[in-house]
Symmetry: C2
Subunit: 228 residues, 2 copies
Amino acid sequence: MPFRYFIDSDIETMPTAPSSRTQVKRIARNASYDPALLHAIVDAAYLCHVAFADAQGNHCIPTACWRSGDYLYIHGSNGSRMLKALAAQDCCVTITHLDGLVMARAAFNHSMNYRSAMVYGRFETVGEADKRPALEAFMEHLAPGRQAQVRAGNEQEYAATTVMRIALLEAACKVRSGPPNDAAADLGIAVWAGVLPLALARGAPQPDARGTAELPAQLPDYVHAWQD
Amino acid sequence: MPFRYFIDSDIETMPTAPSSRTQVKRIARNASYDPALLHAIVDAAYLCHVAFADAQGNHCIPTACWRSGDYLYIHGSNGSRMLKALAAQDCCVTITHLDGLVMARAAFNHSMNYRSAMVYGRFETVGEADKRPALEAFMEHLAPGRQAQVRAGNEQEYAATTVMRIALLEAACKVRSGPPNDAAADLGIAVWAGVLPLALARGAPQPDARGTAELPAQLPDYVHAWQD
């Protein structure tokens, strides 16, 4: 019976939850409402999953995200059904980093190590004056200095793009780390137990051969440093 | 203007979508309704995100998943609010594998490489007779042979656990791979362009020191082979 991800019955109350719907109930000892942890989880992410609903039902859509201050940003086409829907309803934005498989001595105590964040609230559309700085902040986050190297968006491209943001205020984090939590009675079982780590890893940069310009001899730092 | 994840206006119709809500509209050329691709995306995943709603709003919850045949399985505590809610409403289950950042010559053409799957429908609760085989299949998927090595679930542990499954029928996949799609007019811009790859990677197994039994000299295959 692997993975007690939501199986623990050790329910505690965490009075610092910012709202009833961010009150973690399953394995509440793994919950946190610390903004610094929330920011770290968001900053380590390239994408989030957004839950919203329309006449066709519930939807869970992955999309790129970034943080500036106390807001999480997303962007997309003006025509995006998701962005239109998000302007008119509360949603839930979730980020999950999987850190490993936790192999316990009892099947029931198998688990995963992870860092997750859930944000509730309503996205607001970023105004025209703030759209370009927001998108440039995204580029700067991914590849510092690149914005000045590429062809910047033209009027048509910017006009076709919507940027939205949601406050990082009504949020909860949940983190599991460390070895399995086997009961003392199970520690004598003769089976390997521990953690099989997982992490999002960077691979060797793959240059696009289609370019016709002569490039600087020096790779940009964000390419050179991609693989340590 | 990075990441045209949902920005493309090249809308095609894909007549093979199994329903209107699985009809991909944004960058439809990246869509697929091929069951073999869907199975491969699910089998490569350790977790999914599930979107559902209740009186408190929309929720997006990460949870472990596995596949048997044409079903995706999840499990949790009998008391799980999510599992209770899923028995009574259609939901959307999404799996996303991030494969890299696509660095284009135009800011607007930046993107991500990814493999994603969205499944719509309603979960059904797996009956008592099928619960144990389903959970054993999950363990076998993660760690072949381990079920016979650990302490199997006892009556109380099994009784506390709910297993649910959803048919992999109403589903859509979306995949982006390969280099940036810069316009010919941008190919002369003197900036590095290409893909910065990302992949979920395995780290060195971390044995739990708390065990009191003498272990076999040989590591289980799933531990030994964790890092190639």
